[in-house]
């Protein structure tokens, strides 16, 4: 009897561990976070120049903006599987609402593509031109974070 209980408890523990420590979505969550890191790195170069923390360099600015534009065009379908929201698994702040409002998510991601494309044109054209593109970029990032990311 005791053995049975021990086995049951062990089984249950393993099952719980499987749910909370490792989900089948860990890879996808890591991938989308990596994608955000790449956004942040390239926007950081552009923003650093806009703020005067980094000297403006047209080539470096254009390169960062081109990376950003390329990133926005990558398919992210496999990064956001159903059931990989903050209510279902650990290690993510993505809200379940993201999966319930798909047309809106697509529209917002379209705004991001447009803002990044505008920046790709603007970044090499001088500091003021670069600065002019930052607000639209911030707005596009923020729009999605506002609707679909849990506060820290």
């Amino acid at each position: 009897m005791l053995k049975k209980i021990t086995l049951a408890v062990a089984g249950l523990t393993m099952a719980t561990t499987a749910v909370f420590a490792e989900s089948p979505h860990d890879g996808a969550i890591a991938a989308r976070k990596a994608h955000m890191v790449l956004y942040g790195h390239n926007i950081g170069i552009l923003g650093g120049m806009a703020q005067g923390k980094i000297d403006y360099n047209a080539d470096a600015a254009s390169a960062a903006a081109a990376n950003l534009a390329a990133l926005t065009k990558m398919s992210q379908g496999s990064y956001w599987p159903q059931g990989s929201d903050a209510g279902s698994v650990k290690g993510t702040r993505a809200l379940g609402a993201l999966w319930q409002n798909f047309p809106d998510v697509i529209a917002k991601s379209g705004d991001m593509v447009a803002a990044a494309a505008a920046m790709e044109t603007a970044a090499g054209g001088g500091l003021d031109s670069l600065r002019g593109g930052m607000r639209a970029l911030g707005g596009a990032c923020s729009a999605c974070h506002k609707a679909y990311r849990q506060p820290e």
């Binding site: 923003g47 970029l137 990032c141 506002k146 820290e152």
Partner: protein, 296 residues
């Protein structure tokens, strides 16, 4: 024994009478508005600085739709869920029938035109410090916005918090006009203080509340649990916030934090308002934040 009961009954009656008197909603006298001229442009600036659209526009409204003040957004709390009402100038669904004095009473006293207490989910605890000129101008500006016929949704607040009269007691305890930041030596700091403590109501989310839901001014801006779900509203005093002045200004205008992550949640609405404000006002808010007392 009979005598004791009679005394108790008398005390009870006196207590109820006192309760009725001290919990009566306050109002401003109409004569206080004599000579105040509304300035619609100034009203538009007050509207942005006061963040009215952040709560009263429909959730996720963008650009021009942020001026359609249909209300409807839900604000969960420990006391129940509050729904922002329609404050568009629609004569019946909104507040189109309000006089400037009605708006003064709502914002400075938390008192409705028919003499009821508002729940402090409506931050009159902050707006009570707004000047009469700003409120009268705001009233004139709001009359120019689109009239929306969306019906306001009743609050979902359970007993005993749904007894509006008891809010009179709450106000007696917690509704105190005046500034939290006592020393504001420069005109810039005074402007920042006005923008934060009379209009912007930053402290309503960034300051922890006591058991009765009142802001703990001795822990001003020390951060608090997020009432709308999990997570924390951050401490923005020098204890925790190490952003430079230019970092703050950049955040206010673009939404980018120093690490180039962005604002999220309700703060995104705040940034949308801040981005519309004049740079002088934003610098005043930055100065105010940098002058905050360290708090935990």
């Amino acid at each position: 024994m009979k005598r004791l009961l009679a005394i108790l009954a008398l005390l009870g009656a006196v207590g109820a009478g006192v309760f009725w008197v001290v919990t009566a909603p306050e109002t401003t006298d109409a004569t206080a508005l004599a000579g105040i001229v509304a300035d619609v442009e100034q009203g538009a600036a007050v509207f942005v600085a006061g963040g009215c659209a952040s709560c009263h526009a429909a959730a996720n409204a963008k650009d021009a739709a942020r001026l359609e003040l249909t209300g409807g957004r839900a604000f969960p709390s420990d006391f129940g869920t509050f729904y922002a009402p329609n404050i568009s100038p629609h004569p019946s669904a909104g507040i189109g029938g309000w006089s400037a004095l009605d708006l003064v009473n709502a914002m400075r006293h938390g008192t409705s035109p028919d003499g009821a207490h508002y729940f402090p989910a409506f931050p009159y605890t902050t707006y009570q410090n707004a000047t009469l000129g700003d409120i009268v101008s705001l009233h004139a500006y709001m009359q120019t916005l689109p009239a929306m016929d969306t019906a306001s949704k009743p609050h979902d607040v359970g007993f005993p918090f749904n007894i509006r009269r008891s809010l009179g007691g709450w106000k007696l305890l917690f509704l105190r006009p005046g500034w939290v930041m006592q020393d504001a030596a420069t005109p810039q700091l005074q402007r920042g203080r006005y923008l934060v403590e009379a209009l912007g109501h930053c402290g309503e989310c960034h300051t922890p509340r006591n058991l009765l839901g009142a802001v703990q001014t001795d822990r001003w801006m020390a951060g608090a649990p997020n009432p709308s779900g999990s997570g924390e509203i951050p401490n923005i005093t020098p204890t925790k916030l190490d952003w430079s002045g230019p970092d703050l200004l950049y955040y206010f205008t673009t939404g980018f934090r120093p690490d180039f992550d962005t604002a999220g949640g309700h703060m995104s609405d705040v940034v949308e308002n801040l981005a519309q404000m004049p740079e002088g006002d934003l610098n005043a808010i930055v100065a105010y934040i940098q002058a905050l007392a360290a708090a935990n």
